[in-house]
Symmetry: C2
Amino acid sequence: MPMQDMHLVHHECGDCPIRHRAVCARCESDELARLEQIKYYRSFQAGQTVIWSGDRMDFVASVVTGIATLTQTLEDGRRQMVGLLLPSDFVGRPGRATAAYDVTATTDLVMCCFRKKPFEDMMLTTPHVAQRLLEMTLDELDAAREWMLLLGRKTAREKIASLLGIIARRDASLKLKAPKGAVTFDLPLTREEMADYLGLTLETVSRQVSALKRDGVILLEGKRHVTIPDFDRLMEEAGDDSDGGMLG
Amino acid sequence: MPMQDMHLVHHECGDCPIRHRAVCARCESDELARLEQIKYYRSFQAGQTVIWSGDRMDFVASVVTGIATLTQTLEDGRRQMVGLLLPSDFVGRPGRATAAYDVTATTDLVMCCFRKKPFEDMMLTTPHVAQRLLEMTLDELDAAREWMLLLGRKTAREKIASLLGIIARRDASLKLKAPKGAVTFDLPLTREEMADYLGLTLETVSRQVSALKRDGVILLEGKRHVTIPDFDRLMEEAGDDSDGGMLG
DNA sequence: CGCAGGCTTTGATGTAAATCAAGATCAGGA
DNA sequence: TCCTGATCTTGATTTACATCAAAGCCTGCG
């Protein structure tokens, strides 16, 4: 459990534990109080659209529970998911008036929203909020770039393995245990959503999931419940560069 | 010419006009002086590596002149470019010790570097530097997500058209004129580099460039000098969603 | 119960782009 | 000048994935 999360847990977070992780890792109580005044919750049902690309967006928010997706669409309907929002993830851009992507609730979803103007005002006076947001944005940028490698250069099988690995890891980190040995989770995405994320068709996703199952890399109970008997094996299938830094 | 650039031009920027655009859009003279103390320049020849992924990186920097690329590589050698750094672009991450990508000079390159520790210290005391950096990072994130759409869903021809459009636009913005009607520029990338950027092979890039030439979408003098007789036509070929926001 | 509408799987076929393979073009150096 | 190596083009062939098509499988609802 990283130091920073410790700190958060020890705060009096009320019913929005995520908020502090998202915007307020080093916050003081008076800032907490200010955040309190400008926050509100919104709930969405699975499948509902939170906001359409181009819509006026007068809030920023973080996910409390559930999963949301960011997608972009070409005129002819080709879709590409560009982000997956899990609990604690932040969405919205200070200083921009309209949404840049379609945001959709994949599961039932609760978001903790902050009205944009007061949030921006607070950012100006409390520097570490901006700094925390910078950190988070840099993390997202890294994730986006990893995804570019996946989209540009990985095979369908590697893409599926990578996605399963990412979901398993994020799932495990929420439960505060590292993915060693066997891991089990429920897929929060349909085959079509997986396809939209991976730049594939749903048929190819289905075939490759079947192939990974056939080869014993994953086990399936029903269509959604996945267990990964050997996480390292999955990571090999994902084709990732495993040296992970530390050359010089 | 946007207001912000006006502001910059009117600063006494010495020989590093870019620095202020990169980190210091609203800066005061004492901050300028502090930046001055921790900055230094580094030059690289075309083809030289600035830093390898995983190497210790004790600076952040912005490009003054020339072009650099960020690339990621799979163990088996498959390469994907994840960023193109043009003059004024920023590279490096406050709060991280090692480089996450290979950074390579595509042309002769001059970078304005700031030692990381003092830069981080300054960020803590001068909030708007962090805010400027946040804006830039959010822009980069948007660009990365647009690139994800390209990599995941566009055809080879659309990819090439998109890349030419991006280079034309950025080139034009540096010259402070908007790309209306005919535009002319030199390709700063080899066919192979274009391929690495677009998730294609160099042969496919070559074929599609030839096809666009054959169809009159672009004109070529030699292999690198491109002129685009009709920018809108090129954008149609790029397949981008042209409604560009403003639905609700 | 039985049917309807999402999902998902699986098969047959088509195709865009990769791969393999020659050459062509160009710039720089001996 | 010609050679050399890098870059680029073009052609022939292969292949991974898309597309088209049909069924299977759940879940919920009348």
